[in-house]
């Protein structure tokens, strides 16, 4: 699974060369998985037929399967996997806690509350190509992030990670309580649907929801791009980072906002798919070390490959019945993570 170019040996040529090697190696892995995944599924399709322009689209079942059923799933998996993995890296650096995930500070609980309200009470708004459930979960996620941000930041002061963590965890519990309350008011079928939503689902059915999520995702990635050097120093400690010239308050805000935006976009697109945001960063650190200039791009690419791969398992292993992708990531990620914990301690 480990690409040849990404060995843990430190090449002498410096960070640029390693970055190039990592992007090439992990990029090749991600590209290979993303190219392979749409070819495999519960049914066999003919690629030649799928790309045959002479057959009208409505008559071309192979093209339908390829372009409606598989490609959107694979792309969603790539976007969500990359986003959750990098958001996890940033969250772990910001909180200086290896157990932090993109969902630690309540963003996913806010998203879940929004989604569950719409599933239970039926109302909700359609915004452009986004149907009511994604709209509500995006709103819930952004609301949760805004609340935590307002609670934990003071103008001009650095964020206390303890306060941030407590505010986030408390908000998480509070939203979870609201979710339980709404579920309690809902009837059985709605409760079942909300539980299913919580397991995550990449079968978005068209490219439109993916395109709609891209502005947020790209904004978050642009913010990630300026973070690595400061995150390296921040993960050692806020004090030593500021003595080395890092604007700690600004870096913390940027880290929090970028990872929250990324998580909001990912969760509203595919539900709160667990373990990607914690397992992928740790796996990547095992392979490339702790330098965020390498960990961030490698996590994005490896996260994409990991989630697309998990979804491939999810949709083929029990076909025609599907396993929720969140179950697959947890089943593969959980034992691995425990092994990692035991090994490290």
């Amino acid at each position: 699974m480990m690409p040849a170019a990404a060995t843990t040996r430190r090449p002498a040529s410096g960070i640029q060369a390693r970055l190039a090697a990592i992007v090439l190696g992990y990029g090749a892995l991600a590209a290979a998985v993303c190219l392979l995944a749409p070819l495999v599924g519960s049914t066999h399709i003919s690629l030649a037929r799928a790309f045959d322009r002479s057959i009208p689209f409505a008559d071309n079942v192979d093209a339908q399967i390829f372009f409606v059923a598989r490609m959107p799933r694979v792309l969603t998996g790539a976007v969500v996997g990359a986003t959750l993995a990098t958001a996890g890296v940033v969250m772990q650096a910001l909180l200086r806690n290896p157990l932090a995930t993109p969902f630690t500070l309540g963003v996913s609980a806010g998203a879940a509350l929004g989604a569950i309200l719409v599933i239970t009470f039926g109302a909700g708004v359609t915004v452009g190509v986004l149907s009511p459930v994604p709209v509500a979960s995006l709103a819930g996620a952004l609301l949760a992030a805004a609340i935590v941000y307002a609670l934990a930041t003071r103008p001009g002061r650095t964020i206390s990670t303890a306060v941030l963590l407590l505010a986030g965890v408390t908000l998480n519990s509070f939203f979870s309580a609201l979710i339980l309350f709404v579920q309690y008011m809902a009837d059985f079928t709605q409760t079942y649907r909300t539980v299913r939503w919580l397991m995550g689902d990449l079968d978005v059915g068209s490219f439109e929801p993916i395109v709609a999520s891209l502005p947020l995702v790209l904004l978050a990635f642009a913010m990630f791009a300026v973070l690595p050097r400061s995150l390296n120093l921040l993960s050692v400690g806020a004090d030593s980072a500021s003595t080395r010239g890092v604007d700690v308050a600004r870096t913390q805000r940027l880290a929090f906002l970028s990872s929250s935006l990324a998580t909001s976009a990912a969760v509203s697109l595919a539900g709160p798919i667990g373990f990607v945001g914690i397992v992928v960063p740790h796996l990547v650190r095992l392979m490339v070390g702790v330098d965020h200039r390498l960990v961030l791009p490698a996590s994005a690419l490896f996260g994409a490959a990991f989630l697309v791969g998990c979804d491939l398992v999810a949709r083929t292993v029990l076909a025609p019945v599907e396993v929720p992708v969140g179950v697959v990531t947890a089943m593969l990620g959980g034992p691995f993570f425990l092994w990692l914990l035991v090994r490290k301690s």
């Binding site: 599924g41 519960s42 049914t43 689209f57 409505a58 008559d59 071309n60 079942v61 339908q64 399967i65 409606v68 059923a69 598989r70 719409v118 599933i119 039926g122 909700g124 359609t126 149907s131 009511p132 459930v133 994604p134 309690y184 009837d187 059985f188 079928t189 649907r193 299913r196 939503w197 689902d201 079968d203 978005v204 059915g205 068209s206 929801p209 949709r315 076909a319 025609p320 019945v321 599907e322």
Partner: protein, 313 residues
């Protein structure tokens, strides 16, 4: 020792023996507690935690005997005035006891609750959710418990006759491969749940003259991926939604969601039907009406135009 004292001691001994014996007898009659024995008289005060059984009780004329219903009951409208006692996950035992029922209808999975009422000497009927045969048996069972055996038999015959009528109406006609959708996110082709090869909805589809697209998966509900739906290519898609028919605009939008699966025959031939009504999803006396609605969607030409409304019940 005085004679009076001897008499008193004897009397106390006799009383103690008698009460001891009766306690033993009681304990033998009901080893789990000292509750009165359960009578076999018709139930006069019934509490139902199961909405479709409540519906059955009203349909067989036992409505006046119903003393309490679940928090989800809304049919028939008379149930709205009755005390609510929780449901599957949150039965309010105290409230149920306070209603002094002599029959409590619970879900088959509520075994603890069942034991609680049995210990209190209250009769319990455990409803198990299954196919149409089970619905008919439930009608017979609760009719017997409510002392309305004849009404129950009549309701069973009526329902069977309605189902037979529908079956006869569509007999010999080509049976479209039908995907019966029982849940979907609004405004998107996501979170789609369909009927699998067991349960009353599957049987209803069979009676209404359709072949279940997912009959091979022996579960009540299945969540197919878009790929599976494209590959299985249903001739007809029928969506069952609870509640009343929405605006024409909403209806149009929800139907257009399926246009994504352009190669599916149901979509190409404009045979996607959105049906609205609580009766479509309730395993009770209105199944006949549900079968009729379903058959009209699947086989419109089997029903003369003059007969557009269908049975009123």
């Amino acid at each position: 020792m005085a004679a009076r004292q001897k008499e008193l001691i004897a009397a106390v001994c006799v009383a103690a023996m008698l009460s001891g014996a009766s306690l033993v007898r009681l304990a033998q009659a009901n080893p789990t507690g000292f509750a009165p024995q359960i009578q076999n008289n018709p139930a006069r005060r019934i509490v139902s935690l199961v909405p479709n059984v409540t519906e059955i009780l009203f349909a067989i004329g036992a409505g006046p005997q119903v003393a309490g219903v679940s928090s989800y009951d809304d049919f028939p409208p008379e149930t709205k005035a009755l005390p609510r006692v929780g449901a599957l996950l949150d039965p309010d035992t105290e409230r149920i006891f306070a209603l002094r029922p002599d029959l409590v209808i619970v879900y088959g999975s509520q075994t603890e609750l069942e034991g609680q009422f049995a210990r209190a000497g209250i009769r319990v009927y455990a409803y198990r959710h299954a196919g149409i045969g089970n619905v008919l048996q439930t009608i017979r069972d609760v009719a017997r418990l409510a002392g309305r055996t004849a009404d129950g038999d009549r309701a069973v015959r009526d329902l069977q006759a309605q189902l037979d009528t529908v079956r006869a109406r569509v007999r010999g006609r080509p049976r479209p491969r039908t995907m019966l959708v029982i849940g979907r996110d609004t405004g998107a082709l996501r979170g789609v749940y369909v009927s699998g090869g067991v349960g009353f909805l599957h049987e209803l589809l069979d009676i209404a003259g359709g072949d279940d697209l997912f009959a091979d998966i022996k579960r009540e509900s299945v969540q197919p991926s878009n790929e599976t739906m494209i590959v299985r290519a249903p001739d007809v898609i029928v969506e069952l939604w609870p509640g009343s028919q929405p605006s024409a605009e909403t209806l149009q939008r929800e139907r257009a969601v399926w246009n994504l699966l352009a190669s599916v025959p149901a979509v190409r031939n404009n045979r996607v039907h959105l049906l609205y009504g609580d009766y479509l999803l309730a395993a009770g006396p209105r199944l006949g009406r549900a079968a009729d609605t379903l058959a009209r969607a699947l086989h419109p030409d089997a029903f003369p135009v003059a007969d557009l409304k269908g049975p009123s019940r």
